[in-house]
Amino acid sequence: MTALYTLTDLSKRYTRGKESITIFEQLDMTIDQGDFISIMGPSGSGKTTLLNLLGGIDRPSSGAVDCEGTRVDKLSEGKLAKWRSQHVGFIFQFYNLMPTLSAAQNVELPLLLTNLSGKERKRRVETALDIVGILDRKGHRPAQLSGGQQQRVGIARAIVADPKVLLCDEPTGDLDRNTADEVLETLQLLNRELNKTIVMVTHDPAAAGYASRQLNLDKGRFVETGAA
C-alpha cells in the first residue's frame, strides 16, 4: 500500500483567553491510499480537528501534515484552497448544500474551480449523481429532498472533481438507521470500486463498522480497535 498521508509529531493547541488547551500532542499517523478509516472518540477528543488538519482547513501548532509529498501545513492560504479543490472531497453531517441551487448545481460547484467546459461539467455532474443514485432528482433544491437524498448530493459534490480522499464528518449523524446504512454503503462502494481513500469521523459504532480500519482517538492518542 502507498502512504497517502503521513502525520508526524502533530500537535494542536488552542488558546482560550489565558488558557491553553491541548487537543493532541505528537500524534503520528499514516493513511494509505485506498484506506477507509473511521475515527471514533469522545467529544472534544480532536476528531474533527484532525479531519480539518487533513483537509487543510486548519493548521497544526507543530508537526507535519504530508500528503503525497506536499507539506499541506506549509501551503499558503491561496495554494491550500487550490490543493483542497484538487485533492479533497468534504462530506458534512448537515450536508451544507446551497439552498438556492438545484442538486445538479450544488454538485457542479467544485467544478467551477476547474477549466472544464460546460458540457464536460454537466457530464461529470450527471455521472456523480448517477453513482450516488440520485440523478433523477438533479433539478430539485435541497429543501425538496430528504436528509438521505441531500447527503447523497453532498457525496456527489465531494466526488465530482475526482479527489483521492474523502473526509467525512459524521456523515450519518443526521440520518435514520436505514438511510445511514444506504449512505455508508455508498461510501463503501466509492472506496472499493473507485479506490477513494475515506477518513470518517463518527460517534456511531455501526457506521464505524463499514470502515476497513477503525481508530479510536482518546486523550490525544490513537487506539486501533479493529480492521475489516
Binding site: 483537509g55 479543490s85 446551497m98 448545481q105 460547484l109 467551477l112
Partner: protein, 385 residues
C-alpha cells in the same frame, strides 16, 4: 452555471428583501435622474451664455428701467462690438393662463447679439422690416399651434397702448429655432419702436442692455467703463457677464443646486445605510455557505469579488430601473413643460454621473461585507454554526 449564476441566486434568494432593496435604490435614482434633468435645463442659460456677452441693468435691480439714451452711449465704449436692448412685455394669449414670455427689442442688433437665434433669411428680413412682426420661438409656436402669417393678439397686464387698450396685435412673420438643442425657443420678441410708440406711459425707457465685446478678455474693462458712464446718475447701472447674470437670476429663486444636492444627498445617504446594513445582514446569514465554498476550494479573493459583485449588481438593477423611469417621466413632462423648460430631456452627463453613482453605491455598500467574507475563517464559521 458560472459565478454570475451564484451571484444572481444569492442576490434574489429572499425575493421580498431583494425587491424592497431594488425599489429603494430605484427611488433614489429616479429622484436623481429627474431632478438632474430639471436642474440641467434650469441652468442651461448659464451654460449657454456667450463668453463675450454682457448684461447691463439698473443698479437698483433688474426690474428697474433706464433711459433709452444709455443705449447709444454704450455703443461708443471701446471694446464694445454690438449693443442691443430689451423690455419685459410679459403677455398672455387669449387667457391669462396662457403666459407668453415676450420682450420688446431693437430687432437688428438683437439678432446680432444673439446669433444662436436661427431662422431663414427671408423671415429674418421680414422681422427687421415689419414693425408689428412677432418673432416667435419654435417651441412657443408649437405650444400654441401658431404658424407663419398668423395674426394674433397678445395682452399685457403691465402695458397699455395710448388708446387705452391692452391688446397688442402682432403678425407672426418669423419663427426662430435655437442653434443648439438646449437653446431656448420658448419666447417671442417684437419691435421696440412699435412698443415704445404705442405706450400710454413710460416711453423711452429700456429694461436692460445686451452688450457683446470684441473679446472676453476685455470684459472686465468694458464692464468698468460702461458702469462708469452712468455713475452718480439717477439710474446707475450694473454690468455683469451674461453667465453671472443668469446665475444670479436663478439664485433669486433660491440656491437650486443646494436644494437639489440636499434632496439627492439625503436620498443617497439613506439608501447607503439601508443597502449597507442589509448587505451585512445578508452576508452574515450566509456565513456557513461561504465557509463551505472556501472549504471546497473557492479562493478568498474570488469570494470577495462575488460578494462585491452582488451589491454592485443590486445597485445597477435598481439604479437602471430608476434612471429608466426618470427618463420616461422627463420625456413625458418635456411636452407639457415645453413653454417653461424648453429642451427638457435626460442629459448624458446626468446618465454618466448616475452610472458612476451606481458603481460607487455598489462598491461602498459591498466592500465591508466582501472583506468580511474574504477574511472569514472556515473553522470559526463552522464552530459558530
Amino acid at each position: 452555471m458560472n459565478d454570475l449564476t451564484l451571484i444572481r441566486k444569492n442576490l434574489f434568494r429572499k425575493k421580498l428583501r431583494a425587491i424592497l432593496l431594488t425599489f429603494s435604490i430605484m427611488i433614489a435614482f429616479l429622484i436623481f435622474g429627474a431632478l438632474g434633468a430639471f436642474y440641467n435645463v434650469w441652468t442651461a442659460g448659464v451654460d449657454l451664455a456667450a463668453a463675450n456677452r454682457l448684461i447691463t441693468v439698473n443698479r437698483i435691480n433688474f426690474t428697474q428701467d433706464m433711459p433709452i439714451a444709455y443705449y447709444s452711449r454704450v455703443q461708443s465704449v471701446q471694446g464694445v462690438e454690438n449693443v442691443s436692448h430689451a423690455n419685459w412685455f410679459g403677455g398672455y394669449y387669449q387667457d391669462p393662463r396662457n403666459f407668453v414670455q415676450t420682450f420688446a427689442v431693437e430687432p437688428e442688433t438683437w439678432l446680432s447679439v444673439y446669433p444662436e437665434m436661427v431662422m431663414p433669411d427671408d423671415q429674418r428680413a421680414a422681422f427687421i422690416t415689419d414693425r408689428t412682426c412677432l418673432l416667435v420661438g419654435a417651441d412657443l409656436a408649437a405650444q400654441f399651434e401658431w404658424s407663419l402669417g398668423d395674426r394674433i393678439p397678445l395682452n399685457s397686464n403691465i402695458w397699455q397702448q395710448n388708446d387705452g387698450s391692452s391688446d397688442w396685435d402682432f403678425n407672426i412673420c418669423a419663427i426662430f429655432d435655437g442653434a443648439e438643442e438646449t437653446a431656448p425657443s420658448n419666447y417671442a420678441v417684437f419691435h421696440y419702436e412699435y412698443y415704445n410708440e404705442s405706450l400710454a406711459f413710460n416711453r423711452d425707457r429700456i429694461g436692460w442692455m445686451v452688450v457683446t465685446t470684441t473679446g472676453s478678455d476685455i470684459n472686465d474693462a468694458v464692464i468698468r467703463e460702461v458702469d462708469a458712464l452712468f455713475a452718480n446718475s439717477s439710474a446707475e447701472t450694473e454690468t455683469t457677464t451674461e453667465a453671472a447674470f443668469n446665475k444670479a437670476f436663478l439664485e433669486q429663486v433660491g440656491n437650486i443646486a443646494m436644494i437639489l444636492l440636499s434632496v439627492i444627498g439625503a436620498a443617497f445617504a439613506t439608501i447607503l445605510m439601508i443597502v449597507g446594513t442589509t448587505m451585512i445582514m445578508a452576508i452574515n446569514e450566509r456565513t456557513k455557505e461561504i465557509a463551505v465554498m472556501k472549504t471546497l476550494g473557492f479562493p478568498s479573493p474570488r469570494i470577495f469579488r462575488m460578494v462585491l459583485a452582488e451589491s454592485v449588481l443590486l445597485s445597477f438593477v435598481g439604479g437602471l430601473v430608476g434612471l429608466g423611469l426618470a427618463t420616461l417621466i422627463v420625456n413625458g413632462a418635456a411636452g407639457a413643460l415645453a413653454g417653461f423648460l424648453p429642451g427638457l430631456s435626460m442629459p448624458m452627463d446626468v446618465v454618466g454621473i448616475a452610472l458612476g453613482l451606481m458603481l460607487a453605491l455598489g462598491l461602498i455598500t459591498g466592500v465591508g461585507p466582501a472583506l468580511a467574507a474574504q477574511r472569514l475563517s472556515i473553522i470559526d464559521a463552522f464552530n459558530k454554526h
